[in-house]
Symmetry: C2
Subunit: 258 residues, 2 copies
């Protein structure tokens, strides 16, 4: 009998989030699952790792119990590192992160804990996928996602991924029958126009909440934002070589060394 | 008289670090400086932002006092956001981050709080540079860095930067006279081979420290690692469009939508 693939499941909303439960359910239909996920929400953590503090892991029991699950005191990137190096008995065949409660399209990929876990796995040379649903609520409905989450994971297990690349998958928050399919996209040029909500403490001191509005400047029809707006699931290949290779020649004309 | 450029200075080692003091001193020779930096060390924070918590800023007094300085309770990316949106009276002409105590070459760019501040400024459309010295110690000697830090900043103020690009500058920890100059590079393919140092609490519970060894797999002579090893200052143009454009065609051959 062929050995089932070993799939590491993690996220950034914390191990008790409904999104990761859905992801586990789907992955159990295609492989052996181990969960190593943060013990508390880690949204907006970017690619943070824990350098100046200790890490704790707890084996925990969720639902039916026919897979191993560990909560970790660290960030999503920490979870992947400690899973691969300390917890798993063999190298996983696939790492999946999510399903995030909320979008990680466009520039959000950079702030995303979900994607940092996937990228960390990619750095370790393991095929990986981050999944996000465009619904921030805890009661988000992941039903329509399941079929596509599975299809993408199966493709990655079958085909592998090019070196240095992980997948960023975002799923529109619409009914199953409205989803038009999966579209390979580029990251839209969009960002946040921040507004800080300035308040006063009961003692009269100023403090701030970060808020903002997401603005898409990109009219392209090959972007993740376009795909999502048109009820496609967006799939962006993401790289962690951040070099802007096309800019090297131009910078070489500068007079640095005169 | 021509207005002096406004330069925002930040870092990830915290507002009291010697590295940021050096950076301020250099920037004061070419522009008007405002400092907005974390109130505590934020190394390894990646591109984290503060979503579920409040932010506090304090106007503080450092050294000679002929520039404004603010400490912020948030991450380096938060510092840039709040500086631009709440603190500064006009848009800065340049954002500089560092000088970091320790390397941000190769894959370290992804874990770097120093670079997340620079990238955040880039996302906001402001030319920016992250500087790091290859010496982790608090007593690092930044003397040799000064000339080059200034030269690169002056070039950026003069030439601007291509859209969507920020600079990641790393400085070898050698004597001034040994530095051979500045080299435009690509990010080396290198990563960390993690080891977790497993210990027991006084109560007998396991806990872990993340440690590891940095391994360079990349033999190229156009990489930042090569440059630094050969006593050059490395300058990598870094982009925040993470799309692996070259992989899109290949992924389109997959059978997602069958």
């Amino acid at each position: 009998m062929k050995k089932k693939p070993l799939i590491l499941v993690t996220n950034d909303d914390g191990i008790t989030a409904p999104g990761i439960r859905t992801l586990v359910k789907v992955m159990k239909t295609i492989g052996d699952v181990v969960v190593v996920a943060p013990d508390s929400p880690q949204s907006g953590m970017g690619h943070a790792i824990t350098l100046d503090s200790t890490l704790h892991i707890e084996k925990i029991h969720i639902e039916s119990g026919d897979y191993d699950a560990y909560s970790c005191s660290g960030t999503p990137a920490d979870c992947v590192k400690i899973a691969i190096n300390e917890i798993l008995e063999r190298r996983p065949d696939l790492v999946v992160s999510g399903i995030n409660h909320g979008s990680n399209s466009a520039i959000n990929v950079i702030y995303s804990g979900t994607m940092s876990a996937a990228i960390e796995a990619g750095i370790e040379g393991i095929p990986s996928i981050g999944y996000s649903l465009l619904d921030y609520s805890w009661n988000a409905n992941f039903e329509a996602s399941k079929k596509y989450v599975k299809k993408i994971a199966e493709n990655v297990l079958k085909e592998g991924l090019p070196e240095g690349i992980v997948l960023n998958v975002n799923i529109p928050n619409v009914d199953k029958k409205e989803i038009k399919g999966i579209k390979v996209c580029r990251q839209a040029k969009a960002n946040w126009e921040e507004k800080f909500d300035k308040r006063k403490t009961p003692q009269g001191k100023d403090y701030y909440w970060l808020t903002g509005e997401f603005v898409n400047y990109d009219k392209g029809e090959d972007t993740d934002e376009w795909a999502l707006k048109n009820n496609y699931i967006s799939l962006v290949p993401v790289q962690f070589d951040l070099t802007a290779h096309h800019a090297i020649q131009q910078l070489n004309t500068w007079s640095f060394n005169e």
